[in-house]
Symmetry: C2
Subunit: 219 residues, 2 copies
DNA sequence: AAAGCATCTTGTCAATGTCAAGTTAGCGAG
DNA sequence: CTCGCTAACTTGACATTGACAAGATGCTTT
């Protein structure tokens, strides 16, 4: 019932997959991950409760696609903020801020993206999307070090151990700050604004990595 | 039915609260957070499906208590590993490892502990438990700096801005590594073992914090 | 012993994910 | 053109869940 809203849609909807994903975003926005249901998504897309099955299989398949789209968007936002930086300090700070801002603006997406147990471990689509985010972050670290950038992945190209160390150090910092802030743990830290603290911490880490690049295996 | 298993239990159970929490742990262990239900907990505790209500109110109340117990245990495990360290390098490394090991051994607890949207924001019990974990971590940082340790919280005692910076830098690193590893993101990092990388990253961060203590406001 | 109250049970309700079976329509082959 | 064919959707059903209301039970206190 109530098919009157936009009758030029082919009655095999035509763009149901896209419509369901948009409905999913809207459900996540105002009901959160714990209030997320396939049936509500179907309802908002104007289709029957079983319609999502054909496009995503089950709820895991749906969440996997949502997570992949989240990584796509995170990648884009990181690239944008990296591009407008004027120096290496600023680039690292912007990266941390963009990552944390993404988490703050898309809390439910962020939560889904980092819930391995909810996602399809075999999804090539998701692995690809997450891999691209990771490559962007890796290249931030490589530029800090003055090393050549990656074209694809750290698996395709051989990287030194000290590069791995710097990546883990940087990513842990960036991700940890974003996650702790999102989940309200930073409220235990007395500070005027968390952004100020993040800027100082990121700048120090950035400079440390540059000063200590190739800390053990470069001579 | 099936009350025969231990009939010395008073028939108002007597220790239902404790039994439910243990049942909760067992449900989390083999069904995960997404398969966690109050009714299954009640079933395993041998009581009716509505029994949990009197002790925890709703599912949020139950999860809040589980999260608080998680912080209690994390605090203890951190303290244990900190106590057996022989120097400041090792203390910082042990802290990072204990935090990550807790996440690896209690993945569902860890997930619940850092899901602000699932927990009761007004729970004094939870705030206390999380605060104690935070105090332990803060004292790790203060010892790195050679500063006097906190007795209670950073809110009770006045701390310098550079202390805040070091806490956020350290905690972000420690938490980020644990979370990324738990959620399988470290699989994108090529390395023989993640522990090796973590040890190197933690040692470097530890030494950097010591060398840079009071980096701006101490003269 | 009687009252009072925390504790636990039973029954119910709307909602959900998944599956099975049916319906519709776009599309290619003859 | 039209006759299937198949992907895209609907309908209906089922077991399960969280929450609530009302009732039963038994400890405790006076």
């Amino acid at each position: 019932m109530e098919h009157s809203k936009d009758s030029k849609l082919p009655y095999h909807h035509g763009a149901l997959r896209q419509a369901l994903l948009e409905a999913g975003d809207s459900v996540l926005r105002d009901r959160g991950l714990s209030g997320f249901t396939l049936r509500e998504c179907a309802r908002r897309a104007g289709v029957s409760h079983a319609a999502p099955k054909h496009h995503f299989g089950d709820v895991r398949g749906f969440l996997t696609e949502i997570a992949a789209l989240g990584f796509d968007q995170l990648t884009r936002q990181l690239q944008t903020q990296i591009a407008i930086a004027h120096d290496l300090d600023e680039e690292f700070i912007n990266t941390t801020r963009a990552y944390a801002d993404f988490a703050g603006e898309n809390p439910e997406h962020f939560r889904i993206m980092f819930r391995y147990d909810l996602l399809s471990a075999t999804s090539e689509r998701l692995a690809q999307a997450a891999g691209e985010t990771f490559t962007v972050l890796t290249n931030v670290v490589l530029r800090q070090r003055g090393d050549p950038e990656l074209l694809a992945s750290v698996y395709d190209e051989k990287v030194a151990e000290s590069v791995i160390d710097d990546i883990v150090l940087s990513w842990s910092h960036i991700h940890g700050f974003a996650h702790l802030k999102l989940e309200q743990q930073m409220s235990m830290v007395p500070a005027a604004t968390h952004d100020d603290v993040m800027v100082r911490a990121s700048r120090r880490l950035s400079r440390f990595i540059r000063s200590d690049a190739g800390h053990q295996d470069e001579g």
